[in-house]
Amino acid sequence: MPKATTAGQLSTPAVSPRLLWTALAVVAFMLLITYLVVFDQGAVSRSGMYLHELMHDGRHLLGVPCH
């Protein structure tokens, strides 16, 4: 990359209200996935404790409180 970002060559789209709402929805979805991995005990996933137990070791090794 000889030339870095300069005016007129920005790598990200301009932040519009529509982009903000989309970003907010994406953040909510990503946090839901994170929740399913690190905290869920069946309340959201409705899988009982199955997903919780399946990802048990990951939770410990990612450093999240588990049990």
């Binding site: 790598s11 301009a14 970003a23 994170t34 199955y50 070791d57 450093g63 999240v64």
Partner: protein, 255 residues
């Protein structure tokens, strides 16, 4: 030939896709690290847990009933892969919304800076206050309180990073900026550490060397994840920009 504004800008969808892909790669790599270095320690801790457990009570849900240990070792990759992809998605959103506010011309530095900020705020600040524990450490009765305290320290970690950036930008010269950033960061972290309850539930009988090596492996897993995520996201951004730039640059050789 003047480039029209935004001709090099990736769409939000393209940025998000790169973040998710980088996160998946980072999560799987962290999974391999955790599998190789962490699983022996989890196994050892579970052996201690089972040896210490009294006769299984009927009302206590037993760990190994739903998913076997081998299933949990496979589930480790599912956990780190999903977690990595989610973190990659969040990094892509942060990059999209904050890129124009970050005072660097380099996308690579911006991506690595955001990943480093996340490692500091999301991992290192919580790690020092509430170090990760292997199975057999921790009272199940306090899990809700521990989870709330953990979430609080994650938020405090992110606020501390933000405070460092805000404090840095109030100062005119480089060395004063560095000092202001450190002070801003420390003020938030120290206040947060003081306000949140201390938790120490390590049984006196738990081997200290096992606890120590487990915590180091856990930190290593997160370090692998965020380092890979930052590097992979930066690399994918650079590839995307190069591909977008080539058809325009080829005819204009005269510069």
């Amino acid at each position: 030939m003047p480039l029209s504004d935004g001709s090099k800008a990736l769409t939000f969808g393209a940025l998000l896709l790169r973040g998710l892909l980088a996160g998946l790669i980072a999560g799987l790599l962290a999974g391999f690290f955790a599998y190789g270095f962490g699983e022996p320690k989890v196994d050892a801790a579970i052996a201690i847990e089972e040896a210490a457990a009294p006769a299984p009570a009927p009302d206590a849900p037993h760990e190994e009933e739903l998913v076997s240990r081998n299933g949990q070792k496979g589930g480790l990759f599912l956990a780190t892969g999903l977690y990595g992809a989610a973190m990659g998605g969040l990094l892509a959103v942060a990059f999209t919304l904050l890129r124009r506010r970050l005072r660097t011309p380099s996308d690579t530095r911006a991506a690595l800076g955001l990943a480093g900020a996340a490692l500091l705020g999301l991992v290192l600040v919580p790690y020092v206050k509430y170090p990760p524990n292997p199975p057999a450490v921790g009272d199940p009765g306090t899990i809700n309180q521990r989870t709330i305290s953990y979430l609080a320290i994650v938020v405090i970690g992110l606020v501390a990073v933000w405070a460092a950036v805000v404090a840095k930008r109030t100062q005119p010269t480089e060395w004063r900026q560095a000092i202001a950033a450190v002070i801003g960061f420390l003020v938030v972290v120290v206040v947060g550490y003081a306000l949140l309850p201390n938790i120490n539930e390590v049984p006196a009988t738990f081997p200290p060397d096992l606890l120590w090596s487990f915590r180091l492996t856990s930190l290593g897993t997160q370090a692998v994840l965020w380092t890979t995520l930052g590097l992979a996201f930066a690399a994918l951004l650079s590839l995307g920009r190069r591909a977008a730039a080539q058809p325009e640059r080829e005819p204009a050789t005269a510069a």
